[in-house]
């Protein structure tokens, strides 16, 4: 037992959790916590908006698989991280958000910078704590980290009134603790896995659908082993993009609204799917008429509530998907099951894949999205981490940027938060300073958090922002062209700043690429620089993302380039 103030207990408890840095912004109600940075080894990384701080923590968490931590003050500081928390929740990302709160005796009095952040965040947190006594803090932090990173990961909010930060108490830092109503599934379900193998062996046209859960649990080796042993083609959701090397002969890439043609086609023809860590979101499957009527679904998920939520499964395999896939690998080995002969289905899949790789019509110009993203892929080392913003560039990345090393592609796929990619890239770079980190961006999204350049420069976090700049809110414009008779309302962004000058004014490097040669040079320059770099790439505002499955329709009804 040791006597200390609440704020010090917070920092001490976080150090015990292995926290090396906090992304945040100070304010009146969290000053006692900030003062503790002077007396501990945790690094503070100053964001320029609390929302960016939360996305940085999110990016850090997805890459390191340890909760990223963000700090914000009370009131507007807290409400500013709401979007970041919701983003983390929608994509099951481990995060600890620590907010300052007005003193306990002021709560409910509409005090200056008071907001009921516990109430506001309730539907988008995995859990929330508001310690009312300083002595509660060590256990709250311990439990908060445990909840955030186990089972299906998610954000945990810790809202600490200012007086609780300042009060002194005898602190006990517990190793053991109990959370009665929380039991993340950890055991394998061997019986279900055996049934799953049986179903896959009896299917004529089996396929694997790998979702985000595959990446969260890093089940890459297991997935690849099963796909190769049973010769199963692999499609992914967008969140699951890169769970499986997209250059692998069995890989078809992401399905969905802007899925790859070959992936959507094969998904709709399959008769049995091994669905791993996916919620069958509307963006992935369109309507549920997408699937063959007699499609058999094996649904693996760590969250029992996902089974049957959006799609009824014939077989549920509940638990950590890596644990269950590992059992599957073991059983296949034990039973000496290995397919060596290419079935007509696999042959058909490979032909379809080859056809669309050759025949998907691309933008004819020199600076078409596919050419740009393939150039980026060609020049980036395979271990590089890519984040994206939200919009056309994101879907082009899905279509044309092949992930080679699993678990190196991250995007706001659930909530679809514009402005996420750049701060998330900063968080990712902090987690993996040894690899290049690139945010594939559009001008619309970049505008939302571009002031994170200040963080990247001041804190020496050299990420690359790759802006596909069409001076328009491209995805909205595409919908307006497609569904609203070309009435382009509220999308024009010709008043964008000059991104080269903007970058330079922050002390970052700004480059522009108007030809493939310039792009080649710019990417090489950015990769060899030790300063944050913005590459501005002007593109055609009329280019659509295709294929396109209109919302609420089946993957069978893809709109293809004409």
């Amino acid at each position: 037992m040791e006597k200390m103030i609440g704020a010090k207990a917070l920092m001490t408890a976080m150090e015990k959790e292995g926290v090396k840095q906090v992304f945040g912004l100070p304010g009146g109600a969290n000053l006692p916590m900030y003062d503790e940075f002077a007396r501990c080894d945790i690094r503070h990384i100053l964001a320029r908006h609390e929302q960016s701080a939360s996305h940085m923590a999110d990016g850090f968490g997805r890459v390191s698989r340890k909760p990223g931590v963000c700090f914000a003050t009370s009131g507007p500081g807290a409400t500013n991280i709401l979007t970041g928390i919701a983003t983390a929740q929608a994509d099951s990302s481990p995060m600890i958000a620590v907010t300052g709160q007005v003193p306990v005796n002021m709560i409910g009095k509409d005090a200056f910078q008071e907001s009921d952040i516990i109430g506001m965040t309730n539907p988008v947190v995995k859990y929330a704590y508001q310690p009312r006594n300083a002595s509660e803090i060590p256990e709250v932090v311990r439990k908060g980290f445990y909840i955030a990173e186990t089972g299906r990961p998610g954000p945990v909010l810790i809202d600490i009134p200012k007086d609780v930060q300042q009060n002194e108490a005898e602190m006990v830092f517990p190793d053991e603790f109990k959370i009665q109503g929380y039991h993340p599934w950890t055991d394998p379900d061997i019986v279900a896995v055996e049934k799953a193998i049986d179903m896959l062996l009896h299917a004529q046209k089996p396929i694997i659908l790998a979702g985000g859960g595959t990446i969260i649990s890093s089940a890459f080796a297991e997935l690849q082993s099963i796909a190769e042993t049973l010769m199963l083609p692999v499609v992914t959701t967008f969140k699951g993009k890169g769970a499986f090397p997209e250059t692998h002969p069995l890989s078809l890439g992401p399905i969905g609204m802007h899925g790859r043609a070959e992936a959507n086609k094969m998904m709709t023809e399959a008769d049995c799917v091994l669905a791993i860590g996916t919620r069958f979101s509307d963006r992935s499957v369109g309507t549920f008429e997408t699937f063959e009527k007699d499609l058999k679904i094996i649904h693996m998920d760590v969250d029992p509530a996902e089974i049957g939520k959006n799609q009824t499964a014939q077989l549920a395999v509940i638990g950590d998907v890596r644990v269950n896939l590992r059992i599957m690998v073991k059983l296949l080995l034990q039973k000496a099951i290995k397919k060596t002969e290419e079935t007509p289905w696999v042959k058909h899949v490979k032909e379809t894949r080859a056809y669309w790789k050759e025949n998907l019509k691309l933008h004819p110009g020199e600076m078409g999205a596919a050419k740009i993203l393939r150039k980026l892929r060609e020049l980036l080392p395979k271990e590089s981490i890519v984040t994206t913003e939200v919009g056309q560039h994101q879907m082009w990345a899905s279509l044309f940027y092949d992930v080679i090393q699993p678990g190196t592609f991250f995007s706001s796929t659930g909530l679809g938060t514009m402005g996420w990619g750049f701060p998330a890239a900063i968080g990712a770079k902090v987690a993996r300073p040894d690899v290049p980190v690139v945010d594939i961006a559009g001008d619309g999204s970049f505008a939302m958090t571009e002031n994170s350049l200040a963080t990247a420069v001041l804190e020496d976090i050299p990420v690359i922002v790759f802006v596909l700049n069409n001076s328009i809110l491209g995805m909205v414009a595409q919908w307006q062209r497609t569904f609203y008779d070309r009435r382009m309302i509220g999308v024009q962004q010709q008043s964008n700043p000059d991104y080269v000058k903007l970058a330079e004014s922050y002390g970052a490097q700004g480059l522009r690429a108007q030809s493939m040669d310039e792009l080649d040079k710019a990417i090489k320059t950015a990769l060899s620089s030790d300063v944050a770099t913005v590459i501005d790439i002007p593109i055609d505002p009329e280019e659509d993302v295709l294929p396109f499955v209109a919302p609420g329709t089946s993957l069978k009804d893809m709109i293809l380039p004409s």
Partner: protein, 160 residues
């Protein structure tokens, strides 16, 4: 279908808010809700009745179970449970016979009579929601001034 859910939750501030918020956010509906502390003051028992098809009810149970503050969530079989709600009816008395008639009606449903005045009286009823509804229908002709219902409380019957 009408379903009775029984939740054992930690007796902490804000849990009722979280449970009701979950129903709203997930587009489920609450037909009735009752909450009270259990013999162990660390826990409260919530009884929620809801309406939805089988899939929805299953989803509600799973989502409630996922909540960290719920210790136990059960979908009770109404045939294997005792479930009752308390209601108070303030009923209008228009003529001399009404008082006797309402009294008779209350007796037939095992109700108690309170606060008998010249032009109104109150009936306390402990019954299933169906029985309460039936009583309400029969009381309507007299004129119902006000109703307060507690929502259902339920416990599973012991086996054998």
């Amino acid at each position: 279908m009408w379903a009775i859910l029984s939740l054992l939750v930690e007796n902490k501030p804000g849990i009722l808010f979280k449970v009701t918020h979950l129903f709203r956010a997930r587009n489920f509906n609450i037909d009735s809700i009752s909450v009270g502390v259990t013999d162990n003051p660390d826990y409260s028992r919530m009884t929620i009745t809801t309406i939805g098809d089988e899939k929805q009810v299953e989803q509600i149970v799973k989502q409630l179970d996922k909540m960290i503050d719920t210790v136990e969530v059960k979908h009770l079989d109404e045939h294997k449970s005792v479930y009752r709600e308390l209601s108070l009816f303030k009923i209008k008395l228009s003529n001399a016979n009404d008082s006797m008639e309402v009294n008779k009606l209350a007796n037939a449903y095992g109700g108690k009579v309170h606060n008998v005045k010249k032009d109104s009286m109150m009936v306390e009823l402990t019954a299933t929601p169906d029985q309460t509804g039936a009583f309400e229908e029969l009381a309507k002709p007299f004129g119902i001034i006000d109703v307060a219902r507690t929502g259902v409380a339920a416990l599973q019957r012991s086996e054998s």
